[in-house]
Subunit: 292 residues, 2 copies
């Protein structure tokens, strides 16, 4: 089973448990939980997490599975809440109606809440594998999700008139990538701290690549509304550096990411993973944007 | 320091930590976190939790404090989300504007999310006290908050056309009281299971008392909109049994609660706590409702 299969199996087992027995649980909310996490996008964060864990030996695969699942659940929860009318008011997500459009706003709020709780519950279930690693995984995930440093803080900055841009980007986009590399290392018994830079750089690359896609592609290609940054007046690598400048920046960040990989048994494969990831996220520049 | 002081100190330390350093975190969201948990209501759930822990010896007070804090954070988060326009659309809560009225809807969603995450983070921080108890506390809290059995499930039932009423009431109102008694026991090193009935009965009593207050009192006395059950067509002990019938039912449930207290060192004080709680929640019947 490849990484993708391993992630999807772990996620689907967890969601099935949370859905409970038919008739004994509210069926629409049970369906919405599954709707919110399938079909997956690229599952980038849990893929990075598992790749790091495997590079570090992956000696407790149940812990790695739980960590990857918990991280993806938090990511999916944040998408469901971010799509709500009071935030991005997005009708579409991953090429299908967003949760509040397919179900309702109350069910979208509850779906997000339930997925957040499920993430921590999933980690707590691994106590018999290693209580210390489990507690650290919960702490890292909470720190990178909540206040004052996590994705909640990142969203919170969008309600401020004066924004600390570095803190905003780090918490909004970077934090779950930092969680990915650190949780992968911790699940495999390694220290979290040396893995922060790799996560931060991958997160930065992801943000620049997203800005490029947002500027270059249409709504049909993205599966979600395009040009959202321009609409919402958010700072953007393309508006700051131009398309070519942003492409150069993306390559520099990825080179830095590879250089930052801590010494470990699977260092070479991990560098290869970052290169493949780079190819995947780097958008092809449409002809009318090319400088001749 | 009395129980109330102990709870408020633990909560305020936790909120201050989550607010982070000024300028480095979004200030409105940081303020909203504190606004959502202060001033407290009766702090009934953490009071029950601490009373049970003390009846069982309270040998790890840091764990008890963390458990009480986490439970109250989840309760406050659920109030913030339940008040949102897509649910109860409540303008007032505890005698002041609800979080989305005082701040905004986006900040209310993020406040609830952040408080949920903070609850689990608070428990994870106690790993050095006892990793096993900590993991069980997280599991109980998650089970009683999320899907398929917790307060999210309870709210989810309100979107269904066919409702399992027993499951609805148990999850919507009962679950956090069950969490209170079970987490109190587990924090003090006891088994969770024998404490479920006490929590369930206190939760039932709370529901009947709330129905009575909702039917008898005005909005000014409640500090929130009155007559909400009638408005929303929810089943209600007063509409089923009448005021006198509901009062009799309340007394019976509380007698059952006291009878269910498991054998423990502080059994007598705990029974006294339930009696005091009963006096506190039982509404005085206004003159025009009395049968002469």
């Amino acid at each position: 089973m490849g990484l993708q299969g391993r992630i999807d199996t772990a996620l689907s087992t967890t969601i099935t448990r949370a859905q409970g027995r038919a008739q004994k649980t509210p069926s629409k909310l049970a369906s919405a939980l599954n709707y919110a996490v399938t079909p997956g996008g690229a599952r980038i964060r849990p893929t990075i997490l598992m790749s790091v864990a495997m590079a570090c030996g992956d000696d407790k695969p149940r812990l790695t599975d739980a960590a990857a699942t918990a991280l993806e659940l938090i990511h999916c929860a944040s998408l469901v809440h971010d799509d709500l009318p009071c935030f991005d008011d997005a009708d579409m997500r991953r090429g299908k109606p967003s949760v509040h459009r397919a179900f309702s706003q109350p069910l979208a709020v509850l779906t997000g809440d339930s997925l957040i709780i499920l993430a921590f519950e999933t980690l707590a279930r691994t106590v018999s594998s290693s209580p210390e690693r489990m507690a650290e995984l919960i702490s890292i995930l909470a720190r990178r999700s909540g206040m004052p440093d996590g994705i909640c803080a990142g969203q919170g900055w969008e309600s401020e008139s004066e924004v600390d841009l570095a803190a905003y980007h780090q918490s909004k986009t970077g934090s779950l990538f930092i969680a990915a590399t650190q949780m992968g290392a911790v699940a495999a018994g390694q220290e979290a701290e040396p893995w922060e830079e790799l996560g931060a750089r991958i997160g930065e690359a992801f943000q620049v690549a997203d800005d490029l896609r947002d500027a270059l592609y249409s709504e049909a290609q993205l599966g979600k509304p395009a040009g959202q940054d321009d609409l919402n007046g958010r700072p953007n690598a393309v508006s700051l550096l131009g398309v070519d400048g942003a492409m150069t920046r993306l390559k520099d960040i990825l080179a830095g990411a590879i250089a930052s990989i801590p010494s470990c048994a699977g260092e070479a494969q991990l560098a290869e993973m970052v290169r493949m990831y780079a190819e995947k996220v780097t958008p092809a520049i449409p002809a009318h944007h090319r400088v001749s």
